[in-house]
């Protein structure tokens, strides 16, 4: 049961949505699938007077490839991403990630935009977005702006999206994200991650031209371990660099003990999932999976 009353708005265009957010300001909140927001409302952890439902905004649920870029609308459902051949070919880490989120019922409601904008350190998509160097397209009263995922996630439940800005699209460079993977350690199939790691390798002439890593569940927000990336970047292909990167990533991890495991355990597992994600990414980068 939801106790705190609010007024519901259902804009049909992005402009209307942005205008409503401007009008109600601090007292408003966007609603996407509601798969995080509604549970929070039931817990009494939500107190905005105005809910602006993005669910009826048209033309934001696309999944398409344009000029070598996989472009996914902020309202594309995780269930559609999970089943998309385009996604699997362009950024397989995102497919790994999508199927690992909750269960089919939640994935049918929850879009990718909500998963990143909610910015719960337990959300899985942020790790893939950061490892992929994805580009986030935001639209607000001041128009459109773009930023890298690495700059988007600031803290628990806090992103660089300004109040009233809608995440319109997330863009992945298909060529550079082809060698990518997400590994999620779970207590049971539908649970949040104990820890998770996304890795991406762009291999060029037998060396790693680019390496991206992102970790779920080991800090206040998604972890972007730059030193670990540096250990792999420019290296010849071989697992020595991967073990070193795994150590470095775990060293930056700041997990807390909870029902899913102790901090020490998670720190150790951060190493394991990072190495496995790198290994899987390499198989895909080199395996001619086009």
């Amino acid at each position: 049961m939801i106790l705190h009353p609010f007024e519901y708005h259902a804009p049909e265009t992005l402009e209307e949505a942005v205008d409503l957010a401007e009008k109600y300001g601090e007292d408003s909140k966007f609603l996407a699938g509601g798969q995080s927001l509604i549970p929070l409302m039931k817990l009494g952890l939500f107190s905005s007077g105005h809910v602006i439902d993005l669910g009826r905004v048209r033309g934001l649920d696309h999944i398409r490839k344009e000029d070598g870029v996989l472009a996914i609308g902020g309202l594309a459902k995780m269930a559609d991403i999970e089943g998309s051949r385009l996604v699997e070919q362009a950024c397989p880490a995102l497919t790994d990630c999508a199927v690992s989120i909750a269960d089919p019922l939640v994935r049918n409601m929850g879009p990718i935009g909500g998963n990143v904008c909610h910015a719960d350190p337990a959300n899985d998509v942020p790790a893939v977005a950061v490892a992929s160097g994805a580009e986030m397209v935001l639209v607000g009263r001041q128009g459109e702006r773009r930023m890298k995922a690495q700059q988007f996630f600031l803290d628990t439940f806090t992103t660089a999206a300004g109040r009233g800005e809608v995440l319109k699209e997330i863009r992945f460079d298909a060529e550079r994200c082809r060698g990518s993977a997400y590994i999620k350690l779970q207590l049971q199939a539908t649970d949040f991650a104990i820890v998770g790691a996304a890795a991406r390798l762009w291999v060029h002439d037998g060396t790693v031209g680019e390496c991206g890593i992102g970790l779920t569940g080991v800090g206040p927000t998604v972890l972007h371990p730059k030193k670990a990336e540096g250990a792999v970047q420019g290296s010849r292909l071989g697992t020595d660099a991967f073990s070193r990167a795994a150590e470095l990533a775990a060293a930056e991890a700041r997990p807390v003990s909870d029902l899913r495991g102790t901090a020490e355990y998670k720190q150790e597992m951060a190493k394991v999932v990072t190495r496995r994600a790198l290994e899987n990414a390499l198989k895909r980068a080199g395996g001619g999976r086009r």
């Binding site: 049961m1 939801i2 106790l3 705190h4 009353p5 609010f6 007024e7 519901y8 259902a10 609603l31 509601g34 798969q35 509604i38 549970p39 409302m41 039931k42 809910v51 439902d53 669910g55 269930a79 909750a102 269960d103 089919p104 019922l105 939640v106 049918n108 409601m109 199939a189 539908t190």
Partner: protein, 179 residues
């Protein structure tokens, strides 16, 4: 606010608060109590319904989010006098014990068979991952879904066939007794 949606093919309209959950709208406004509220914390799937053909947890959807859309509940699949193949299969293969999770299980299984008429065990278990059962241990549930798949593929509706024969006086007893 005025909220209108189509539930099991019937236009349902009511004055309701924006905070009303779809599960409460279905149970209290439409009076359809087959959709169960198990946990009300988005964890159990007892409240599963189809929203525009896709399975969702109706306790985690606002009724206003479903406004103008099509909802199908367990009652929309068939009733006690006319069990659909999935309902019949759960009954025939003992896919339930207390029955609390059953409406959600059946709706999820139905959605699976709509898009995949011949799922293997893994596909069945994945499709039902959001539906928890505290009684059966899932073995009989998986068996029921496989049987339902077989009936659906073969276009068989044993329950309906028996009901017809009963009506015509060929067989006697309560529905299902002679199956």
């Amino acid at each position: 606010m005025r909220v209108q949606m189509e539930i099991n093919g019937i236009r349902t309209e009511s004055n309701t608060d924006a905070t009303t959950l779809l599960s409460d709208f279905i149970r209290e406004e439409a009076g359809l109590t087959g959709t169960h509220a198990g946990c009300d914390t988005s964890n159990c799937g007892a409240c599963t319904v189809l929203l525009d053909g896709r399975v969702v947890k109706s306790c985690t959807v606002l009724a206003v989010q479903a406004a103008g859309r099509k909802v199908t509940t367990i009652e929309g699949l068939g009733d006690a006098n006319d069990l659909s193949p999935v309902q019949y299969a759960f009954w025939k293969k003992h896919g339930l014990q207390c029955g609390f999770c059953t409406p959600g299980m059946i709706v999820s299984a139905y959605a699976l068979l709509q898009r995949n008429p011949d799922p293997d065990e893994e596909e069945i278990r994945n499709a039902l991952a959001g539906n928890l059962c505290r009684c059966t241990g899932y073995v009989k549930i998986v068996e029921s879904v496989r049987y339902a798949a077989k009936l659906t593929r073969e276009g068989k509706t044993p329950f309906r066939a028996a009901a017809r024969r009963r009506k015509e006086g060929e067989i006697h007893g309560p529905p299902g007794e002679s199956l």
